[in-house]
Symmetry: C2
Subunit: 190 residues, 2 copies
DNA sequence: TTGATTTTGCATCGGCCGATGTAATATCCT
DNA sequence: AGGATATTACATCGGCCGATGCAAAATCAA
């Protein structure tokens, strides 16, 4: 019915997500994506619309990917999964792995001082999702004060991601992960 | 010997610091400062040079202010000071207080994907200073594993500041502060 | 008062970026 | 083959920002 696209939309979206992840919203430009993907500026704009919309789709992709990981790590839900999560967060990775750039959602919290509602909702929703799944892990093992402790673990997690972003290296969070594991084990014992 | 300035440099620097703190490096413009302070664009540029240099001076001012606070809270150094720090971090403040915008250093980690060395050094130095002073508090009370635990507390602190920035409200970190205090007390007891 | 010196106000340059207009191009359906 | 339709390539607009040039203004020393 019409001229077909020369590029795969999902592929380009993935490329945009990692670009936002590494460099942030501002520093990621349509013209930069044009160079990286070889897709023309006008085609990108045709496919994704304004930059804000592309960013929102990148956040959605990120959330979906993260949930897929949680489905595995928290299977079944419990403190073992939490411990695995914190240990995995600080595991060494190849230097060019995008996860050395921290977490796209956390980065977004800080970069965009006054984001549009569409973005703020996605970030807040992501955080709530993550916290609720950690709380479910605490509940599964009968840990008391699960609400406050899940918030506590969220704080710790995002703090680790701060340090990872500062150092551009997941292993920079290893000392924190070690004490986090101790603390969770302490809850389980006590 | 020459025409005198019509503005106070320290006052303008303080204004710039809070602007960077609230809105970030990019969103804070010389033209915006011109409006806020009433000082002409050309005069600002004359006094502070390029924007990067102004930002570096703002970071220095921030560090000095923070150290002055630590001098009080950690007097004498010990876990009581640490507990006071974490509780104070989540204490309610007037809505327009700049501390509801988190921490300038943490914000900087995230906003600037590839900062000039002058900036990166200041941020890393600030974090190291803060961690060392927390470690000194642990040492003062004979807490073991002080190095890793100080890192752990840094992670927690920066995670609380993430949540504060997301919510634009220090009290959003209250649940984390409560568990943090419990955890520190546990170290003291055990 | 006069001259040296710094600040100030105004205008402007150059660059980057998001976004759009337009015409040529490539496909599918009939 | 031929028309309808979406994509592509190219050029460009408008806006914002950092930075600078320049001349008028304001002070102090002599």
């Amino acid at each position: 019915m019409a001229r077909p696209r020369k590029f795969d939309e999902g592929e380009v979206l993935g490329c945009a997500m990692t670009a936002f992840w590494r460099a942030g919203f501002e520093a990621t430009t349509y013209r930069g994506l044009e160079s990286e993907t070889g897709v023309g500026l006008r085609s990108l704009h045709n496919a994704f619309g304004e930059k804000e919309a592309l960013f929102a789709r990148a956040l959605d992709l990120y959330r979906d990917s993260a949930e897929a990981v949680l489905d595995q790590v928290f299977d079944p839900p419990g403190t073992d999964g939490l411990i695995a999560l914190f240990q995995g967060m600080a595991a060494p990775l190849p230097a060019d792995d995008v996860r050395n750039s921290g977490c796209l959602m956390v980065n977004t919290v800080f970069e965009r001082a006054d984001p549009p509602a569409e973005i703020a909702e996605r970030v807040a929703g992501y955080r709530a999702m993550f916290r609720d799944r950690m709380k479910a892990c605490l509940d599964a093992d009968g840990i008391p004060e699960a609400d406050a402790r899940a918030e506590f673990l969220m704080g710790l997690l995002w703090g680790m991601l701060s340090q990872i972003r500062l150092a551009r290296d997941t292993t920079a969070a290893a000392p924190m992960a070690a004490i986090a594991v101790q603390t969770i084990q302490g809850w389980r014992a006590g």
